[in-house]
Symmetry: C2
Subunit: 154 residues, 2 copies
Amino acid sequence: MQNAELKERIEELKRRSKKAGLRVTKQRIEIFKAVFESKAHPDAETLYNLIKNKVPNVALDTVYRTLASLESLNMVFRVDSLLPKARFDADYTPHSHFLCTKCNEIYDIFLTSATDVKNEVQKKGIGNVVDVNIQVRGICPKCENEKKEKNLWN
Amino acid sequence: MQNAELKERIEELKRRSKKAGLRVTKQRIEIFKAVFESKAHPDAETLYNLIKNKVPNVALDTVYRTLASLESLNMVFRVDSLLPKARFDADYTPHSHFLCTKCNEIYDIFLTSATDVKNEVQKKGIGNVVDVNIQVRGICPKCENEKKEKNLWN
DNA sequence: AATCTTAATAAGAATAATTCTTATTAAGGA
DNA sequence: TCCTTAATAAGAATTATTCTTATTAAGATT
């Protein structure tokens, strides 16, 4: 059974929707699936294009509204990127992001030191922590290699 | 001498401008000063209002362009916030941010664990790190207290 | 100090991302 | 099956930011 996790997450989406008095529509399911299945932290427009064939007359506005409601249910998360378009993630396991400043790709990274950060903030009593967010900006190995290859010809 | 640091930073701005072939205009100086003097990580419009009296006919567009050029000189930095307006900072000492999700204020915080994060990413060879960015989201003490005071009357 | 080159500016138009308005549709409870 | 109302599609509107163009003014050269 390949998509056991997706199935379970959709069940969770249904439970949370019911609890919050939100309705489960075809649009919401398809948009959630598209976020879940993409590993590229897609933006709203990308999701819109991904689901167009499954939900023919869907409006881009619906994608935005749906992402907002999925966010309020903590089923999708907005990724800090400093890029003009907001990008989204359905992975609730605590993790950080590596942003390549060359290709704008966002990679998931898992850092044990993230826990140290949370602990330090809480210990120092800076505020009531809701979540800790770490992004690392740099050049990804893929772009680094392309740069090297190019240099061979220059 | 109260503003020795500001003075020195403006000298640095002039040196870097010359090196980069950029001109030092009254607008650039005033905008830099305003970012430097504000501890609130202001957005472009706030800066525009702050300098209006000193540079009467300044255009909002100039603020945006100037922030971009100061950014290219590494004299100001864009703060990740997930808020619609970009916010800026002139503090180059490595530090992180605490964002209050209630009042949207951004506080500077200094975390020793930030170094651990950088070390971990570098050791794992995830990519060529340019900078590490940590934000903590939560409720600041001020908003936490207001909440408590309100509850007394409910 | 006067001249010259061109980067930077002001003004306002344009663009891009996101949100709002409204009439219509369809969840899902009764 | 009916009914209430949340969610949708369509397109207009809004918000933040960037672009276009004629003008101004750094600052290098004389």
